[in-house]
């Protein structure tokens, strides 16, 4: 085991509950005081195929897993065939004796345990969890507490299965409590869902698409208790336009999709820009182009997000670096979208969406951005009134004696179509002023993170889910890690401060062309080298370390 940390791999067939078992292991480690990250890897199919999750617990904040593990929990032989080389010296294998064999491992007769409890095959993951608890030397009462909270149904039966497997297992390691309170773990999708609810979300709309599916599922599951509605329309086109209809009538709406779905939304993105309608678009990035690798990761939609749509209009583009930033910044995205009446694009990558992270409940952002509302004595109401800030005060129908119009055409202050050059120019400049105000406001929101060694002259530039792994390596290797969360309007001032004293820097991105490196080049920063990965998989800690050392040499 690496000092103070533990890594567990669980593998089996799709449909055997690998993801939920992995999440429960993450919760267990969280309760022992570890900071956790889970990577879940699955092909695009429903039953069969090979699924696995790697769960890592460590002392500090982490956002990546190592390629080597201390424990392998194998529900089938395929897991051992593929992953046995990952096992550390003195690593432990727990396996299902019905479907795998590993002489020095701990064999668990899952089928007979399930038979004794008259349980269905899908509960086999509870057996492997129970066996893991014993093998890792975790106290049963803690496991019982976590299991009780985690099992969605059949709690008693699942607990009995886990206990039987616990008895059949044996202690080989001691994964000890780190002290301090337990830290809750969430997927990025869940964290963004929490953030949206905190942001006053009224309606969430989505056409099902990986990797934001679980954001839809999370919000649908909690809709009634938090007073929102989660709606699944006929297409991404309908999704975004319905959200804009909500915005016109005064309800905060958000949509979730991935690159392919966002491609369909682009026409209406321009409508949001022109008609000045607020919306939050969660663009969960996966490996493209086209259908690409439907269930694997990439950071290849930054350029697309910044440039999507014909014509010119202001927009906000933010990319969270982990679940915590997913929660905090999506709320900022909603507030800023409403204050400046424009579309906000939120770009997690698939690792953040479906990966699991420790989330500190106390981490919040103290930034207030309220929508500008018209007074009831403003008559006649002009939806596109010209102001110094470019922000026209809002009203929503019905208002007696007022007409409230929004328009996809060039329009006058009242929202009526115009082709007059003077009005066209004045309106374009009004929209541009909003972007300037937004850029200024963002500079005050700590839009660029610096981690690792903040005084180092060698920098690593990254964004999105590479935040955690780069920060971790930056500490070890003495590198300054620069991670902008706000990407458009680009926070030039904050970025310059973050880069002050950096003599050379290297980009780390999960794409082919170094999209962030290209973006910062516009502002005069040229990367001295790049580490790029574009096979659908995230960097692993040891892998990136080698690559960084190589490129910096």
């Amino acid at each position: 085991m690496a000092e103070g940390e533990v890594s567990v791999l669980i593998g089996g067939k799709a449909g055997e509950g690998i993801s939920s078992a992995g999440q429960i292991i993450a919760h267990l480690l969280g309760q022992l005081g570890y900071r956790v990250h889970m990577y879940f890897d699955y092909p695009s199919l429903i039953k069969g195929g090979h699924n696995f999750a790697i769960i890592r617990g460590a002392q500090g904040k982490i956002g990546a897993v190592r390629s080597r593990v201390d424990l392998i929990l194998a529900l089938d032989q395929e897991t051992l065939r593929v992953h046995e080389p990952r096992l550390n010296d003195h690593g432990v294998v727990v396996y299902n004796t019905d479907a795998a064999r590993y002489p020095s491992g701990i064999g668990i007769p899952i089928r007979s345990i399930l038979a004794a409890e008259q349980a269905p095959a899908v509960m086999g993951n509870s057996a492997i969890l129970g066996a893991f608890v014993r093998a890792a030397g975790i106290e049963w009462p803690l496991a019982e507490k976590v299991f009780t909270k985690s099992f969605r149904k059949g709690t008693g039966q699942n607990l009995r299965i886990a206990r039987r497997a616990y008895e059949a297992s044996e202690e080989r390691l001691r994964v000890t409590a780190r002290g301090g309170p337990g830290i809750p773990a969430f997927t990025g999708n869940e964290a963004m869902g929490i953030g949206l609810i905190e942001a006053g979300l009224g309606v969430y709309l989505s056409y099902p698409m990986s990797p934001t599916l679980n954001l839809l599922h999370f919000l649908a599951a909690h809709a009634d208790e938090v007073g929102i509605r989660a709606i699944q329309p006929e297409s991404e086109i309908a999704v975004i336009l319905a959200a804009l209809g909500c915005a016109y009538a005064g309800t905060r709406a958000a949509v979730g999709t991935s690159g392919g779905g966002f491609s369909l939304m682009v026409e209406a993105l321009g409508l949001a820009g022109m008609a000045e309608l607020p919306i939050v678009i969660v663009l969960g990035q996966r490996a493209g182009p086209s259908t690409g690798l439907a269930t694997y990761t990439a950071q290849a939609d930054l350029g697309f997000a910044i440039h999507a749509g014909h014509g010119e209009f202001p927009r906000l583009v933010l990319a969270p670096g982990d679940a915590e930033e997913g929660r905090i910044w999506i709320r900022a995205a909603m507030d800023l979208a409403w204050k400046y009446q424009l579309p906000a694009l939120f770009l997690p990558d698939r690792i953040i969406c479906e990966g699991m992270y420790s989330l500190d409940p106390a981490e919040t952002m103290n930034h207030m951005a309220d929508p500008v509302m018209a007074g009831s004595d403003d008559h006649p109401y002009l939806r596109y009134a010209l102001t110094d800030s470019g922000i026209s005060p809002l009203r929503f129908p019905p208002v007696k004696g007022e007409v409230i119009r929004v328009n996809s055409h060039a329009h006058d202050t009242d929202g009526i179509t115009t082709e007059e050059p003077g009005v066209t120019r004045a309106m374009a400049e009004k929209r541009k002023r909003k972007l300037l105000g937004l850029a200024k406001e963002i500079e005050g929101m700590h839009p660029v993170n610096v981690a690792g060694d903040p005084d180092a002259a060698t920098g690593v530039l990254c964004w999105g889910s590479n935040k955690g792994i780069c920060a971790e390596l930056g500490e070890g290797l003495g590198l300054r890690v620069i991670q902008p969360v706000a990407l458009w309007p680009f926070p030039e001032e904050s970025f310059a401060k973050a880069m002050a004293g950096v003599e050379r820097f290297f980009g780390v991105e999960t794409n082919e062309t170094g999209q962030l490196a290209r973006l910062v080049r516009q502002f005069g920063y040229r990367a001295d080298g790049m580490v790029l990965k574009y096979d659908g998989r995230p960097f692993m800690v040891d892998e990136l370390e080698q690559e960084l050392v190589r490129v910096m040499a």
Partner: protein, 284 residues
């Protein structure tokens, strides 16, 4: 309130004799009248598509959302989700709703979304200078089909019936009083109301004589009968010669989309914080 008060300051740019005038004036007179009968004007929202029909947005002083080509209905869906107290009228064209945005039309009917869709069906693309649309008659000659169009038209009445629309009617701009009664009924119907409005295009497709010779009024008595409705829908296929029925073709009562997704009570900020604290503690 008089209808004339609903005319905006925008300069009208329809061709002289355009069928859109009839829809505009019918709508303004009707809404002015209904304003005094429990449908206040400020609660009406017009959602317009792109095409000659869409200019009605500029010409009327009504709340409105001037959307994209083919995209009135999803916008209307959002408005109704946000505030079901608003009466939403989608004004669309035949290119707008039967071509580019056909999926939305079908799904709104399927969901029984409580809106009124008025299709300005002049059976030609006017603003783009006279190409065929999904309801142009077979053999229509336009700039894109100089040898005559080779597709048979879509029958929107049949399509809407099959899709689950709970109110289906057809009007004609040459019969304004009937049209006004029809739109009024459509507005008062609870559920998805669809009205195909046969309107002439004075420049590219002037079918005034053709329609005048063939239109007649359907009996309202069997409007609740689905089999009668199918028979009426198939009487004229938008291409071959037949009598053309006008009025309410089908009407029935069914639960609406809004019944399924009522506006929930909003949480206070304090309740929201409490919920977040709870979900965090459930994981600790």
């Amino acid at each position: 309130m008089k209808g004339i008060d609903l005319i905006s300051h925008a300069k009208n740019t329809w061709c002289p004799g355009c069928g859109n005038f009839a829809v505009q004036h019918t709508l303004k007179d009707l809404l002015a009248q209904m304003d005094g009968e429990g449908l206040p004007l400020e609660k009406v929202v017009l959602v317009a598509g792109i095409g000659q029909h869409g200019k009605i947005f500029d010409f009327l002083n009504l709340n409105g959302f001037y959307s994209l080509h083919g995209r009135t209905i999803p916008v209307a869906t959002g408005i109704r989700l946000a505030n079901p107290d608003l009466t939403v009228i989608c004004v669309t064209g035949d290119g707008d709703s039967y071509a580019e945005g056909l999926d939305h039309l079908i799904f709104a009917a399927k969901r029984n979304l409580d809106i009124t869709v008025l299709v300005h069906d002049n059976r030609v693309y006017g603003l783009t200078t006279g190409q065929f649309t999904p309801t142009s008659p077979y053999g229509y000659r336009g700039h894109s089909t100089p040898g005559g169009e080779k597709e048979v038209p879509l029958n929107p009445m049949e399509l809407m019936l099959a899709s689950g629309a709970s109110f289906i009617g057809r009007g004609y701009t040459g019969r304004r009083d009937e049209l006004k009664r029809l739109i009024r009924e459509a507005l008062l119907h609870r559920g998805f109301s669809f009205v195909d409005i046969l309107q002439i295009c004075a420049t590219y497709n002037d079918l005034t004589g053709y329609y005048n010779e063939r239109v007649y009024t359907w009996s309202d008595e069997d409007a609740g009968d689905r089999q009668s409705a199918y028979r009426k829908a198939r009487e004229w296929d938008y291409s071959t010669d037949a009598r053309i029925g006008l009025g309410v073709m089908y009407r029935h009562t069914a639960p609406t989309f809004e019944d399924a997704y009522p506006v929930p009570g909003e949480m206070t900020p304090g309740e929201r914080d409490g919920w977040v604290a709870r979900i965090m503690s459930e994981r600790s």
